[in-house]
């Protein structure tokens, strides 16, 4: 048995293919149970997100796992073989670690993947599909992901526009707790940014739209307050953060608006993000003290720079992951080896003891000294016999010595 992994992801396959192999959360328990019901599969785990499907198993070989997945999804055998990546042991371990550490993600370092991996593990646990090996593997993967996060900067800087906006605002307000966000217009990006501000601690959301009904609808959805466009001027002073994305062809917020607002705010800083094209916030506002204006290009420039920074950090993370994967593979092999050696010694010892019992009659009564001497002798024979074999097994570099394989095969056949 080895760790085998089947992966189909955004690097290897377009969404049309990925979706055919994807598992919904409801499907997973049944699929997992079907998986371990197979004789050739001992443990299994399935991670299915919009960017990837990863099937990890403790199984005899990867081809059988692959055929099982096709069968489960009722697909013709081998239909997506060229989109599928099959990995075993060390490579499978490394891939698992890379996925959990968000090194294989579309946006390297994005934080959601670790949560998704944890959830997949939880589901597999609940379905009773993971045992000793995969539990060890996944716990190690979580630890590696944490280490990568702590020791490299792959998740340090924002790479999406709305996160960048939050990051910039933090350089003005430090904490967003207690701030008021004014959302002007109903552009999707601004709406997303507003959500990010709220999840990062902003307290109050004002929504302004030329069509008041739209503002009301959005306010109901986002738990904000709808404000009519006519009162914008008077309400502007309440906003610490203004997010703007409308279809207007001209500036909606002018320096004089902001000057007035600042005066009312007693010059507490105001932070404006303009995601609309053409722009709706006059960039001349930037010349006012305590007013900060950023447009879509500024945000994108930050995002691009941060992404490059992340890629540099990702290279460092790869080194950590590779080293950890190697260590884990080695400890797994070591564990297997020790198990085999234990079985070998016990078997031979048992043979020796059985022979002793069989000869008891002919030996007659033994003094305790003689009894001891016999045991010492048998032990010594067992040791002398097994020693060169164990030595050979241990000397093999990756735990795959011909002796080991031979013994395993022999032993398994014997048992059956």
């Amino acid at each position: 048995m080895s760790i085998v992994l089947l992966s189909i992801n955004h690097h290897t396959a377009p969404v049309e293919v990925r979706e055919q192999l994807a598992f919904s959360e409801a499907e997973l328990p049944t699929a997992l149970r079907a998986m371990i019901a197979r004789e050739v599969i001992q443990e299994g785990l399935i991670l299915s997100t919009c960017n990837r499907v990863e099937v990890i198993a403790e199984a005899a070989d990867a081809n059988q796992l692959r055929d099982f997945v096709y069968e489960l999804k009722r697909l013709p055998l081998n239909c997506f073989n060229h989109h599928l990546v099959q990995l075993t042991d060390a490579e499978a371990i490394q891939h698992t670690f890379r996925v959990a550490s968000s090194l294989d993600s579309m946006i390297v370092g994005e934080p959601q993947i670790l949560g998704q991996v944890k959830e997949a593990f939880q589901i597999a646990q609940n379905a009773g599909a993971v045992g000793h090996t995969l539990t060890r593997l996944m716990n190690r993967a979580f630890a590696v992901a944490k280490k990568v996060r702590n020791e490299t900067g792959i998740a340090a800087n924002a790479v999406s526009i709305s996160y960048v906006a939050v990051e910039l605002a933090r350089k003005v307000f430090d904490s967003l707790a207690g701030t008021t966000v004014l959302l002007l217009g109903a552009g999707e990006m601004a709406e997303l940014a507003a959500k990010h501000f709220i999840t990062n601690g902003a307290e109050k959301l004002l929504i302004v739209n030329r069509t008041f009904e739209n503002a009301q609808a959005l306010a109901a959805e986002m738990n904000g307050e709808a404000v009519s466009f006519e009162t914008l001027d008077s309400r502007l002073a309440e906003a610490d953060i203004v997010l703007c994305s409308t279809g207007a062809a001209h500036y909606l917020v002018s320096p004089s608006h902001i000057e007035h607002a600042l005066e009312q705010r007693r010059y507490r800083p105001i932070f404006l993000i303009d995601i609309s094209v053409p722009r709706n916030i006059d960039p001349a506002i930037s010349e006012l003290d305590n007013a900060f204006v950023f447009d879509i290009d500024d945000l994108e420039a930050v995002a691009t720079a941060n992404l490059q920074e992340r890629q540099r950090e990702a290279e460092r993370a790869e080194i950590i992951v590779a080293a950890e994967a190697e260590r884990f593979a080695a400890s797994l092999a070591e564990g297997n080896l020790n198990k085999v050696i234990g079985v070998l010694r016990r078997e031979v010892q048992q043979i020796a003891l059985d022979e002793l019992e069989r000869s008891r009659k002919r030996l007659g009564a033994l003094t305790p000294e003689q009894e001891d001497a016999l045991h010492v002798m048998l032990n010594s024979i067992v040791n002398k016999f097994t020693h060169p074999i164990i030595k050979q097994m241990r000397e093999s570099e990756d735990g795959h010595s011909p002796y080991l394989e031979a013994f395993r095969e022999f032993y398994h056949q014997e048992k059956e």
């Binding site: 996060r149 702590n150 900067g153 340090a156 800087n157 910039l168 933090r170 350089k171 003005v172 307000f173 430090d174 705010r265 007693r266 010059y267 507490r268 800083p269 930037s286 003290d289 305590n290 900060f292 950023f294 500024d298 420039a301 930050v302 720079a305």
Partner: protein, 278 residues
């Protein structure tokens, strides 16, 4: 006593170096801040012992010459840092403050130890009242200077961060400077604390003067400059409270105020007069 002071000096230096090398680290700022505080705290304790021993050895409150005042000011800065500088949000700010503490300690170590002049000695110990009021006068003023050092550090960082934001340059300076609000709040708080201490320091000085020779005002250059400084800071607080002045304008004023402090502290010494020390 010098050995302890050198130990404190090295601890301040290593904490400044620690702050510099951890500056670029984005993760676990709070833990870095804790370690930094720990280092400064050890330096501060060593420094405190050094000051206490000096007091015992010389038999007077150890702030009667420039050497002692520099050391005392460095100590006050460390104390202020431990009390008021936030541990995880200050980013580059501790570097500035800790280097100030380090430099002042270094200057103190390099300056010769001028003996306490007889006139000053008799003035301090003229009566039980002056014996108490003199250390109070000096301590308040030195602590107000320490607060103003933090004010000016916050103001400089504010100006740098503000310039980066307005120029839309998101490089190292942008990442390493604290947020504008943090700078502003820290500056303003230090400013108020410094102002209160400055006022109390001046009042106790006047009380001591009137005890000493019956005059509470001597038209001494230091007194005049201190009054000017006091008015600068008063104006800043006044406009902050009444007109909500903040940000860039106030940061520049804080730097102006600090220049006045420096002139009061060092310049007045060159001009001679009634205040001969510090």
């Amino acid at each position: 006593m010098n050995v302890l002071l050198i130990a404190a000096l090295l601890l301040y230096l290593s904490s400044a170096i620690y702050a510099i090398i951890t500056l670029a680290m984005e993760q676990s700022r709070a833990r870095i801040g804790q370690w930094l505080r720990g280092l400064v705290a050890v330096g501060f304790v060593v420094h405190t012992i050094s000051l206490a021993l000096g007091w015992i050895q010389w038999g007077h409150f150890p702030v009667v010459n420039l050497k002692e005042v520099c050391s005392f000011l460095a100590w006050a800065i460390a104390a202020y840092y431990l009390l008021f500088v936030p541990r995880d949000k200050a980013r580059a700010l501790p570097i500035f403050v800790l280097l100030c503490g380090f430099l002042l300690t270094l200057v103190s170590l390099l300056l010769p130890n001028e003996p306490l002049s007889l006139t000053l000695s008799s003035a301090i110990s003229a009566s039980p009242f002056t014996k108490i009021i003199f250390p109070l006068h000096v301590t308040m003023l030195v602590f107000s200077y320490a607060a103003f050092v933090v004010t000016v550090a916050g103001s400089v960082m504010y100006l740098v961060q503000e310039r980066e934001l307005k120029a839309k340059r998101f490089g190292a300076a942008f990442r390493w400077m604290p947020a504008l609000n943090t700078c502003d709040e820290l500056s303003y708080r230090s400013l108020t604390i410094g102002f209160v201490l400055l006022t109390l320091g001046m009042v106790t000085g006047m009380m001591w003067g009137s005890q000493h020779d019956g005059r509470f005002w001597h038209n001494d250059p230091k007194e005049v400059l201190a009054l000017v400084t006091w008015f600068v800071y008063l104006a800043m607080i006044h406009y902050r409270v009444t007109a909500g002045w903040r940000g860039r304008r106030v940061a520049w004023m804080a730097i102006g105020g600090f220049v006045a402090v420096l002139i009061t502290f060092i310049g007045a010494r060159a001009m001679g007069g009634y205040h001969v020390f510090g």
